[in-house]
Amino acid sequence: MDNSSFDQPPIQSDELPLDLQAAARSYANQPVPRPSSADTAHLIQYLLAEAAFQAQDTRYEENDHLWHIPVLARWRVYLLGPWFWIAGVLLLLAGILLARSITVSDLITLLILLLPLTAVLGLTHALRTPSAGLRAVEASCPVNFAQTSISLGLAILAFAGLLGLVATLGFTLANFAPFWNLLLAWLAPLLLLTAISLPIALLRNVRLAALVGGLPWLLLGLLALAEQNGPGIVRLFFSLPQDTLSLSSHLATILLSLLLLIALFTSAPKWQRFCTL
């Protein structure tokens, strides 16, 4: 590799002021590495071998890449460290403990409000913050960047779901709420907000994902808590589904969100190149 050769391309300086032309010229004149013909020949050999391997294994990889997701999910969960998960539980508990008057209705509202928020905030934090060993996992696994991020998102979703399930069982045993109604009440927003936030976090940025996925839901939740005794329409989002219409809308939301997540999960190799994360 010749590392000291100098490229001197012409400067397209027609639209630049004179003072900037000098900076552009210094930039263009900086030495850049040039591969030797042996380097290029080596690269060609490598690529041809890779292409032959690729052609042989295309069919196998198309079906196989999904199986890497659980492996990666396990690693990403491990790399986030215990405090990430403890913080998720604390966020949920703190919200409940900070409520001024804890009635059963408040508890249910808070559970429906905080579970999706925990998932969205956890997701954006985890995608934004690097952890030790992450690059090694990224480099060692034959799946792409989007898949590793989606695997992490699904692990966080599963964690929030597990927390919700434990809380729902507790509520049912204490006769606070029927199991299936409460399950549907938090599962629908949890899946929907995750399905919305995850692609935004990957394709745009994590702050926008937190804003879109978390802020409206937080405001709606606070509004619902404020008008606890009123007939407000916002309460519909944070109460148990009782009638057929409400039940079916929750089920439809869950199905739609699951479809979105499955589509993201399976088509990741196709849109990975558009990721900005």
Binding site: Y27, V32, P33, P35, I44, L134
Partner: protein
């Protein structure tokens, strides 16, 4: 002479020689571009290889006569961005590389002067964002037009212009600062 698009179509139809020609055409420019963007030659070499591998893997998504050049550079752009935002890149401190002095260099003083200006430029470049470095590399390193740069980076031509101006202004002020540091250091030496 075959166009890039013809060659890639031939590669899609199984002509290994077409890929060879494409690699010969683009290996050096792509390495120069990524080296400028990432300010790290070894990393640039890795990403050049990765860019070509992605090209092979995504070969089926190419539809003739889509322009090949912007497509290839867009792949390199996404890989560079992915690397830059990866956990590893955030922890690695980019260092200026010291080129080996060649036999044809005129004399050590001149070589050192040139190395120092190169070193200052590299240091100044680390103050630019990866987006700004990419625009500079495509515009002045690869000699592409504003429209071609905009197509590769998927941004409007106006953004290319403004990003170029901002990057050059930053570069100029950093270089001026380093130059005055060098002068004061040399002045101090002379006084000493």
């Amino acid at each position: 002479m075959f166009t890039d698009e013809d060659l890639f179509r031939a590669w899609q139809h199984g002509d290994a020689g077409a890929l060879e020609t494409l690699v010969q055409r683009y290996h050096a420019p792509l390495l120069a571009h990524l080296s400028r963007v990432l300010t790290d030659t070894h990393l640039a070499e890795d990403l050049v290889q990765e860019t070509f591998i992605r090209l092979i893997r995504d070969a089926q998504s190419y539809c003739y006569p889509r322009p090949f050049h912007p497509w290839l550079y867009a792949i390199a752009h996404h890989l560079a961005c992915n690397y830059h935002t990866s956990a590893y890149a955030r922890r690695v401190e980019l260092r200026a590389e010291i080129p080996a002095m060649q036999a044809r260099e005129p004399d050590p003083a001149e070589w050192f002067e040139r190395w120092e200006s190169h070193h200052n430029l590299r240091k100044a470049l680390t103050h630019l964002s990866i987006e700004q470095r990419e625009v500079l590399s495509l515009r002045f390193g690869q000699d592409l037009s504003i429209q071609e740069t905009a197509a590769i980076l998927s941004i409007p031509p106006g953004t290319v212009k403004s990003r170029t101006f901002t990057a050059l202004r930053l570069l100029r002020s950093s270089l001026e600062e380093y130059a005055s540091d060098t002068e004061s250091r040399q002045g101090g030496k002379h006084h000493g």
